[in-house]
């Protein structure tokens, strides 16, 4: 199965993909912006400040998704000793980190007019900050450890430590009293967000996912080119 992850074969696709992903991203992002800024209604309670949600929530989803993916690839890379998996993890991390920061900053901007504070040390917000620190340490580890073997091991440990935080982030609003409100969207039950607001939210999530994919492909190609320049035939 792993032979399909052979970088030489993958590079044919990944080197051509970014421009198509970029075009798709621009289209979806434009639709998302028009939907969320103009066409979607204002909230009955928060009026126009609800529009921050269309950036805040997708950014938070994407950052959680990316960290989970990084962990999956790192652990599989470690167990099966597949260096390519580590490259995928490494290339995913920057966009995850950026979306984490975006989620924190937009949350802060949203918190001021609605809750009345920029920052609160409640479980959801604090655990999200811890995730940002994990991203930071993860990215630093790749810079600090020059030898591949060391970097692989250290980053795997960091991701395993960090993944415990993901369910804590998800369920913090249900387990403890938090200032942050509980989740509006449930897979199993009806979501407490009106359809006219749900649609732009999904479009924006798709746009952010495409953006992450774009950045990932660019980073990944860079990594592959670096390896080719070192004169290594394969990983």
């Amino acid at each position: 199965m792993f032979k399909y992850f052979n970088p030489n074969k993958v590079f044919f696709i990944t080197s051509k993909a970014p421009k198509y992903v970029l075009i798709l991203f621009i289209i979806v992002f434009t639709i998302g912006l028009i939907e969320s800024l103009i066409l979607s209604p204002e909230d009955y309670k928060q009026s126009h400040s609800v529009r921050i949600m269309y950036v805040h929530v997708p950014a938070a989803w994407i950052t959680l998704g990316i960290f989970s993916t990084i962990t999956l690839f790192s652990v599989f890379g470690y167990i099966f000793k597949n260096p390519n998996f580590f490259l995928i993890s490494k290339s995913l991390a920057p966009s995850g980190f950026i979306f984490n920061i975006i989620a924190l900053v937009t949350g802060s901007i949203w918190g001021k007019p609605t809750w009345g504070t920029w920052w609160a040390w409640d479980a959801r917000i604090t655990s999200m900050l811890i995730l940002a620190l994990f991203y930071g340490i993860y990215l630093l580890a790749w810079r600090i450890y020059q030898t591949q073997d060391q970097a692989f091991k250290v980053t795997t440990i960091i991701t395993i430590l960090g993944i415990i935080n993901i369910p804590i982030i998800k369920y913090s609003v249900d387990w403890w009293n938090t200032l942050h409100q509980p989740a509006s969207i449930n897979i199993l039950s009806k979501s407490s967000i009106h359809e006219s607001m749900l649609f732009p939210l999904i479009i924006m999530t798709a746009a952010f996912a495409l953006f992450s994919l774009l950045i990932f492909l660019m980073k990944y190609n860079t990594e592959l080119i670096k390896i080719k320049n070192k004169g290594l035939d394969r990983l």
Binding site: Y44, Q46, D122, I160, P182, H194
Partner: protein, 139 residues
Amino acid sequence: MYGRKVKLRFFFVLSIFVILVLSIFLVLKSLEENVVYFKSPSEIKNSPEFQKNKLRVGGMVKKNSILINSDEINFIVTDFKNEINVIYTGVVPNLFEEGKGVVAEGYLKDRNFFIASKILAKHDENYMPPEVKAAMEGK
């Protein structure tokens, strides 16, 4: 079908993960007091000792309980079992309203009176356009 080393590494990662989950669970369990952002009026009334330090109390603003004087706001925080009177001087957030969630930060005067130095609005997870809300209330 996989080599011995692969299996070994798999169980190594798995055991690290299980140990971590257990330890984090125990740590959070013992720190629960500090993880919760606010206490409910019931928890304050039923706590064996009177708390002198700064704390946060959260719940719903009781309907028809907001009294605005020239220099202070009085209201009742309720969790539908117990209530606590809150006195506050200052600006309230936009979403502070009767029948909505609130978190007050401050000190207890006694078990029924709370002097707040900061008011935060806790909004719920419902989002809908005003027309839908009006239609729902019209029913």
